[in-house]
Amino acid sequence: MDSYDAPESTPRQCASSGLKDYFIGATPLQKRLESVRKQTSFIPTPPRRKIPQCSQLQEDVDPQKFAFLLHKQWTLYSLTPLYKFSYTNFKEYSKLLNAFIAAEKQKGLAVEVGDDFNIKVIFSTLLGMKGTQRDPEAFLVQILSKSQLPSEHREGKVLWTGWFCCIFGDSLLETVSEDFTCLPLFLANGAETNTAIIGTWFQKTFDCYFRPLAINAFNLSWMAAMWTACKMDHYMATTEFLWSVPCSPQSLDISYAIHPEDAKALWDSVHKTPGEVTQEEVDLFMDCLYSHFHRHFKIHLSATRLVRVSTSVASAHTDGKIKILCHKYLIGVLAYLTELAIFQIE
């Protein structure tokens, strides 16, 4: 585990605060407010970040273990800390959630908790999916359809998957007490109705709050730069950008695909500080793309809105949808998403 440039060292955290004089021995709530103040008064994101390192997973964890999380489209949500959540109660949770789903699906018909339904809910931990030791363990919820034939004990099809994680979430962890479990990033794959039912159950049970996590163009540019900067053994996909031009009656989309090696070459030409990405570099990188495009098509892309970024590492859409392609950089991608989720819940 190499040293991650934890947020403490970023300028926004270092900014001296006169509030310190006011909040001596502050309660978690005041720490919370203080961090909101900081976030609001300075640039929302730190102007420099680490380039995702190869594998930041714990050494004893096989990265292939999480292969099933790759190549799937996940819808992102931010989630406030879970109150009185316990990793030892997964069995009970699955029983309760199972009954809850069954009751929601057949409106008006009561069901007994622990009854046999045609679906199965499984809670399991994603051991090792964390940035630091302090990060709480990530966990997975799966809804499986049960096979109708009783003789076959094999599990049926996966209907819905959702997982909760926290990668380098120190800034959030500092502000809550031990009754809470901080897993600010929630990713769901499956029917939206299922996400709604399960989300509602979590909100009622652990007094938390889900909010869809959209990614704005500013953060998409950051993703583009950081992911282009990642070293790859071989590229799986072209680097592609999608801009949206707001015009009526239909909006116009401009797609811009580059060979990943060209993109990397461009990045290397603007990149100066080793191992880090700075705001200037991100701006420069995007500006180069803009001017190149303008030279050929006489269109100012900077006047349009960036809505999607796809690279060999991952692809992200402004709607808050993400697909991770490269297991090497799984943790790196999630770390940035965790940061965005924490920003949203503050």
Binding site: S17, G18, L19, D21, Y22, F23, I24, G25, A26, T27, P28, L29, Q30, R32, L33, V36, R37, T40, S41, T80, P81, Y83, K84, F85, S86, N89, E92, L96, A99, F100, A102, A103, E104, K107, G108, L109, A110, V111, E112, V113, V176, S177, D179, F180, T195, A196, I197, G199, T200, Q203, K204, T205, F206, D207, C208, Y209, F210, R211, I345, E346
Partner: protein
Amino acid sequence: MSLQRKVKNSQARKRTSQGSNSYQTTLSAWKVTEDLSDSKSISKHGQNNPVEDYERADDQAEGALQIALTYFEKGSIKTSQSKDKTLEKHLKTVENVAWKNGLAPEGIDILLNVALSGKFGSAVNTRIFKCMIPATLISEDSVVTAVSWLCVGKCSGSTKVLFYRWLVAMFDFIDHKEQINLLYGFFFASLQDDALCPYVCHLLYLLTKKENVKPFRVRKLLDLQAKMGMQPHLQALLSLYKFFVPTLISVSLPMRKKIYFKNSENLWKTALLAVRQRNQGLPPEPLKLMLANVHPIKRKWNSHSVIPVLNSRNYSKESGKKGMNLSDYFSSNGSFPLEQLKSFPQLLQNIHCLELPSQMGAVLNNSLLLHYINCVRDESVLLRLYHWLSQTLQEECIWYKVNNYEHGKEFTNFLDTILKAECFLQEGFYSCEAFLYKSLPLWDGLCCRSQFLQLVSWIPFSSFSEVKPLLFDHLSRLFFTSTIYFKCSVLQCLKELLQNWLLWLSMDIHVKSVNSPLETTLGGSMNSVSKLIHYVGWLSTTAMRLENNSTFLLHFILDFYEKVCDIYINYNLPLVVLFPPGVFYPALLSLDSSILNQLCYIMDRYRKNLTAAKKNELVQKTKSEFSFSSKTYQEFNHYLTATVGCLWTSKPFQKGLYIDPKVLEKASVAEYKNSLNLVHHPALLGYAVFFLLQEWPKERKVNLSSIRGKKWNWYLDYLFSEGLQGLKLFIRSSIHRSSVP
């Protein structure tokens, strides 16, 4: 009247319990009384006044009722023509009284026994049930006895149905329910009967407590559901079970369905209204549980309605017990369920074992729980509320996200609820402050203006310079670019903010609790407040220029300074901040007498505050940290001189103000000095003219300069009588009358 009736009733009961032969005697006795009263009523009719008449008529009816009740209780079973007639007569009597005044508990007791004992046919029973309307209350014992009749099996199915309907309708009037609750198992068993099932469900719905919810009952209900399908009454009961013990059962009710029980009250509707009116608040409404899942149509999955329903639980607490043994549910864990929390004393008694809501946001709608939030030291309770509130605010805020304007009304209501809670607690929520940081820069100054500005006024006390770049800089930008009305609203909200801060600080200084979250020094706090005041001073000065010294605006500015000038005396805080010249001079030279009056009032209060401060300083001798700089006194004296010069001595602006005589000449006010005193001041000129016209109507020419000497004093009295109280206070305190010009 009712007391009398009770006495009579008990007499009647005694009589009826005497023996078999007593019936006849009573009956004959009644006949005599009846005859007597009849003849009396005829003979005395002419002389009686209407009230007495009425009372007597009442008495008479009362007597007849007793007879009728006795008849029902002891009446023979055999029916014949003549008996039928008597029965009809007595029935009529009871009906008349019941529909008019209701029946005493004893009467209901008797009738219940009669109706359920199967003495009469079901037609009669039906009539009896229909008229069993309580005058005040129904005794629990009567109900228990009645239930025992059900076990004997003497009454028909339809009578049983009627009994349950009656019981449901009258549930609120039963004086106690503990005994009845003990019969829960009996009622539950009656669910088997298809005809009774809907009504028994309703009764159980009213009766169920958390401890009544048992796994075997859940299973029984689920069996019934399997047998009968989705029945609304079963759904309601099941959802109540889920409400109490969500770990046993899960059900989700359809959104739109509203009616779960056939209205059992229909038969007695009007009569019940009359009883409620008679009782006026007695007995207390028993707790009505709302169906946990009934909400307005779902908008998005994240929220049924914005604020979650109050619902105690906990899954996690119960599931935390190893193995989730079913027997765990047989013993209640001694905590106090929120659903039963109805009064402040209850809160105090159970504050240590209160079950908190599963979603903390629910406290916003419950003032008792707000009390709890107010005194609780448990940080996790506050954090849960913080997270929920800040996320909900951002999610619901109509300008925070694009295209969210269709839910404007809902957001306004939500803000109103929050403000109500803040007002109730006299404290702002941190989450609201955080929300303001994020949303103020995006605010157009129009959406939910009143609510949004009120949120600003509830910002918890904190370092002004810390908050200024986050909030007040954005606010000033909006302030300067908006209409005068917006400016006034902002000034008003800042006044309220100042007041809230001052109240908080004055409390904090006196209480000085060790756990005070803000470990601030008094000096730091005062510094923050004074910065806020200076900020408003700056806003005001600029706004006065922008709005051409508008009187309307000036009123709001002076309102703010009315708070400021009294800080030392009213809040006992060592702070005096004067207004800036940009406010003082326009007010002093205003054309509006009420502005001048307000200014005088403020000047007087400043004087009193400064004098008090000086006195305290002299008493304490020791140079305290908070002695005001001589600059403040100098500044005040300067203002004072100017005011006195303008109102009294006609020697304004002696020092520090130079105006080129040429300019004055151009404006044809070269003699400006004499133009400023109580008579010639532009705001008071009208008063002076009216004064002269009123006192000397014959004078052909109005000579303002004639107001001097004695006339001056009369004029002063005239001004004071016209309501210029501020002026009066100022002149009384700041001007020695010997200097009358």
